[in-house]
Symmetry: C2
Subunit: 162 residues, 2 copies
DNA sequence: TATTTAAATAGGAACTATTCTTATTTAAGG
DNA sequence: CCTTAAATAAGAATAGTTCCTATTTAAATA
């Protein structure tokens, strides 16, 4: 999982500070683990898994427990500070980007990339769909092969079973 | 997981027959297990999990192994006979509906319902997104609370952790 | 129809992701 | 500083999925 280049260090520190305030507002104690976990989300592109976050932080907090990462990410999710992204693979993935955006999922490496499509918000859903329940969110999902995987070619991916 | 009312028995049997031919064309042996598994997918609404399928068929094939269900569904998927649906929960879900359609996911009971939106196909994706890779599929995903869960009220759902 | 054989299955073990339990540590308020 | 409830680490437990292998079976062939 690569580090992002799109956000520089001071942008990230600013968001971590803001996050710190948000924690206090939500009656969540500000622990080192929590800050590092949130920072790791911001620093990673492709919507990291729990393991991605865990391994990245182990260098800084060598006896971090993986359970803390699970617990903390679910906590953030329950407080609306991040969202959980569906998995095409079997691992949960998380998203610190709360802006209205959409996803491109690479079916080979399972990486998830963001994109924006402001006009989509204006398109109205068919009646048939409106009747299914109370809609809280509408998103577009693209599936395909990411540029990185296309470069690598057909190797380096394994399917399960047959 | 409820049985569907939208497809009657003869519709289903017709699709099972057609499926049987498709298996032969794909050099897949037509076994009782495979037919029952495919039939179970057709008979169930809400995009069943492996366990849903397993339990439904156990009454007919009492010593069906759960591994066979996993193996078979993945096999069908690899041959393009069904698709795998992303999980908001932790379980894999499967979809025998290969038509171009979209999903409404209930965040409470995790049920996934189909809807159709033909016009969506014509909307063109922003350039930004086109550059992410080779796009194979574009879908809309709605999240919310299904009618059934709304009726049941706030009880009957548990969140993990805190 | 009987025989053959590679493919498919059942059953249980193994593996992997996630959650739970409990003793210890710590943030934050007094 | 103290106090204390909240958070954590470590490892056990659980749940979903895949692997292993002896047995069964679909379907091609005689
Ligand atoms: Mn995102
Ligand atoms: Mn569907
Ligand atoms: Zn990729
Ligand atoms: Zn529901």
């Amino acid at each position: 999982m690569k580090r992002a280049k799109k956000q520089n260090r001071s942008d990230i520190e600013e968001r971590v500070q803001e996050f710190s305030r948000l924690c206090r507002k939500n009656d969540l104690r500000v622990t080192n683990q929590r800050l590092e976990i949130f920072r790791a989300l911001l620093e990673t592109v492709g919507h990291p898994t729990v393991e991605d976050v865990f391994h990245q932080i182990r260098t800084i907090l060598p006896n971090l427990s993986i359970d803390t990462v699970y617990r903390t990410l679910t906590l953030f999710e329950n407080h609306g500070l991040i969202t959980r992204v569906q998995c095409l693979s079997d691992k949960g993935r998380f998203d610190p980007n709360l802006e209205n955006h959409h996803h491109f999922i690479c079916v080979r490496c399972k990486k998830i990339e963001d994109f924006y499509w402001p006009e989509f918000t204006d398109y109205s859903i068919p009646d048939e769909a409106m009747k299914l329940g109370m809609i809280q969110m509408k998103k577009v999902e693209l599936r395909g092969i990411c540029n990185e995987c296309r470069r690598k070619g057909r190797n380096a991916h394994q399917k399960k079973h047959s």
